[in-house]
């Protein structure tokens, strides 16, 4: 599935006004959304960029191509998304025996609360909207944290919370939200909390309280030009309608990069370092 996206900013003072405007525009009441997002990073370090290019001579040409096909060259951060409600916050300290559970009671009409979310870096195309590939899979059982750590394998990075309101206008999903996090504990955690802390204990990530307005159209048949075109047009139509209220714009592609950056491991001598050393030595010899 692909997402077409536009983003805008709403200052905290204008939030109520914009909320009302959007409610009138979408002809529906805002729907409160609370989410917890947990970020995971792959355990494996990414390969050095350009390492798949042939350097120097090789003697095993045929074997090498086979190896490349199996290992992905890029690694991405992934999310675990948990839908929350107001009651879920501040249920006190969790016991050690408690674990996260994604079990769903389908008989009772429950919807899955946990899902894994993968977001690719946006496309390079220039259509006036940001386009990226995403994959959202609902989890319907088991411990989501364990699932994430073992599939990958992944490492827990951090968790944060999203609060906001959602509107739907045609195929455009409008999400006015801001990001909260629990202050102080970030570096100590090694796994997500079983119970979220009290809502009041959370702090805004952006201290000014500015809201993000995200307008999204989801497209299944990305290859079909007419479908994509209609999606883009609908999103742009929304952008035009909101002109003067909220300026929606195309975010910088690289700010939405979800790839894991390559950092050369310490102690390993790279080719560039070797060359630099050789130069220095050469200069010393010349003297």
């Amino acid at each position: 599935m692909h997402e077409l996206l536009l983003y805008g900013q709403v200052s905290a003072a204008r939030h109520d006004q914009v909320l009302k405007i959007l409610a009138g525009f979408a002809a529906m009441q805002p729907r409160r959304i609370l989410q917890r997002r947990i970020i995971y990073k792959p355990e494996r370090e990414p390969e050095e960029p350009g390492s798949h290019l042939r350097r120097g001579g090789t003697q095993a040409v045929a074997v090498k191509q086979k190896l490349q096909a199996t290992t992905p060259t890029q690694l991405y951060y992934t999310h675990l998304v948990q839908k929350l409600s107001e009651e879920d916050f501040g249920q006190g300290d969790s016991k050690t025996s408690d674990t996260l559970s994604a079990d769903v009671d389908f008989e009772g009409g429950e919807e899955p609360r946990w899902s894994t979310l993968f977001e690719d870096i946006p496309d390079t195309g220039d259509r006036g909207v940001s386009i990226r590939f995403t994959n959202n899979t609902d989890l319907i059982g088991g411990d989501p944290h364990t699932f994430m750590t073992t599939s990958g394998p992944n490492r827990f990075v951090t968790e944060y919370y999203i609060e906001g309101h959602r509107f739907v206008h045609g195929n455009v999903v409008i999400f006015l939200h801001r990001i909260l996090h629990e202050p102080g504990v970030r570096n100590l955690q090694t796994e997500p909390k079983v119970n979220p802390p009290a809502f009041e204990a959370l702090q805004l990530l952006d201290q000014s309280g500015t809201y993000i307005l995200e307008a999204k159209v989801r497209v299944q048949d990305f290859k079909d030009a007419s479908v994509l075109e209609s999606g883009v047009n609908e999103l742009k139509g929304f952008q035009i309608s909101m002109r003067g209220c909220v300026e929606l714009s195309l975010p910088d592609r690289l700010t939405m990069d979800t790839r894991v950056k390559y950092t050369p491991p310490p102690g390993v001598v790279t080719k560039a370092q070797v060359q630099a050393q050789a130069q220095v030595q050469g200069q010393q010899n010349n003297r």
């Binding site: 002809a27 529906m28 729907r31 429950e110 045609g170 195929n171 999903v173 497209v219 048949d221 479908v227």
Partner: protein, 652 residues
Amino acid sequence: MSGLESLKDVALRPWPANKTDELSRDALLQQIEQLTSERGHLRDITEQSLQANIDAGKDVFNDAKEGSEDDDEEKEAPSMKERKDEILKMQREMASHLDWARFAATNALDLISLVLSADPNKRAPTSFSHTFREAGLNQGLPFGSMGVARENHEHHELKSEERQRKEEQQKRRDLVSKAARMEALDTATDEILKAARNLEKEVRRETKYWQEIVSISDKGWPIQRLRQNVRHVPFGVKYGLPEASDHFKARGFAPLRMDRDGSIILDPYLALKPKTLRVKISEGGKIIGSSQLPVESVVEGLAVEKSIRLARDSLLEEELYHEMSLETRQLLPYGVRLRDSVISADVPGTETSVTARQLLIDCIPRDDKIPDGQGHTYDWLAHSIAEALRLLLTHEHSMRLYRRTQLPSPLTARKQEKKSPPLLRTLLAMLHHLQRVDSLFIYLNTVSSTLRSAGFETPLETSREESWTKLRDTLGKSTKKDLSATDQLLDIFTKPFTGKATLTLPSSQGSQIEQLTIAIRTVIGAPTFGTEYKLALPSSLATDLGLSTENKFQSTTDVTSYLDWILSLHVAHRVLKNEYANRAAAKGNEARVTIASKGSKNGVSVKRDISVELRGGLLALHLSQESSQETHSWSGKGEDVSLKEQVKSWVG
């Protein structure tokens, strides 16, 4: 003249020749030039011809000849004084001529300059003559002006009569002006008064309009400013339901026009005749019940409000009718027809009887009177049906909002078709289901009572619709926050109806309780397109009798006959056979047991065939023993002999 006189002494002399006889080249050219200019040509210029010319006096040309004529005048030889006078006179004459010429020339110059100076581009004082500039322009004479006169009236004395006349004139003029002023003031007052009246009217009008607007707004109608700010139509009222289908949504808005006196003019949309849905029940072509909204008689509030309310109601009814008439296209197999804008539907269960019952649904003006000569016995049913249909449409409206606010599915090339709301389908499914369930339950009840009278305990549990029985639980712990309880309740009706009956089978003591379960499921649409009966047999019975545990049936008669057969088989093959364990032998698929008589010592046993028959709630037991036949039957009305006792009495 005087010039000519001075030429008198002049004689032509040859050009001073060069000292040398030889002519230089330049001199020669000069000579030739002179000759050409004197004679015009260079022919015949020889010494002789020139000499001849001189002799003939031709050496001097015309000028010289004139001079020679003047010589005659001078012959008169005037005196000195005379001559001086003459010269003076001539001088004066000449001066006056010159003056006059100068004057005329400057005049002409000034005139032309003045004319030209009318053109703003040519306004240059330099083009005027000096005197004009001094005397005219510098004294303030404007450019381009003609005929300017400056007079001094300071010492203008009027004569007494004239003064009198003038004063009188003045007085009269004053009077006239005073009168005119008074008249003007008068009309001005009139105008102001008129304006004030107009303003007052306008204010009253606006007040009235606003009062009505406020009163409409207070009643809860959303008032909306019109986009094109037309005079007299500043606002409109939105009375249509927000989730109505597109056509009806567009109709749900009417501008509130201002009348001359300020009251609100009814828009054509509002003034349309309100319509209402009418449900009639006919039996054998005779109407035995009809529903209709009462004609609104109580007038409260403004006429506009009333008509807005009526228009809103009418819109709902019309949409309801519209949706249903679209729905009839899919429902032909269920006996639904649309003819003469009347939707007719067969009420199920009465197809066989002579007086077929039909539902007739149409949309009529609300003011129409109910025609006489109709039965009113089934008015309650018609009313309920009409109300149910309305409820279903409002439910559909809130479901539209609900669906709209859910996360939309990702865009695909396939367009999702809009389904028409299930109104008639729900109604039909309901009617079908209730009829089927009831007829089956009646049958089961009679069977149960018959069996009880025959000495078998067969408790029967029935529920017409599963979800109704556990309604409170489902609503209580519902997790759908976006849907109101009413909508969740109504949502049950759009789902398949499922009735359930459980019949406990008669069994011998000590053995497990075995139950027959019949599920009745009604859907108008895929997959069953009607009612389906699912009969689940207990597994022990199924294995004993060699039948499959689950059977599906399409009609009540099928299922009842199958049940008859199963129950009689059960009684014969299991109950009686267990009773007479070794002596009984069951045969095939018939409900017949052969029981050998007890206690025959000589080894010859008398075999008696006992067959059980259950049909139409009547349990019959047939005994055929060689030649004789006996029959005993139970119909569920307080017989005291149980089946087992009866068999025992026969068999011993």
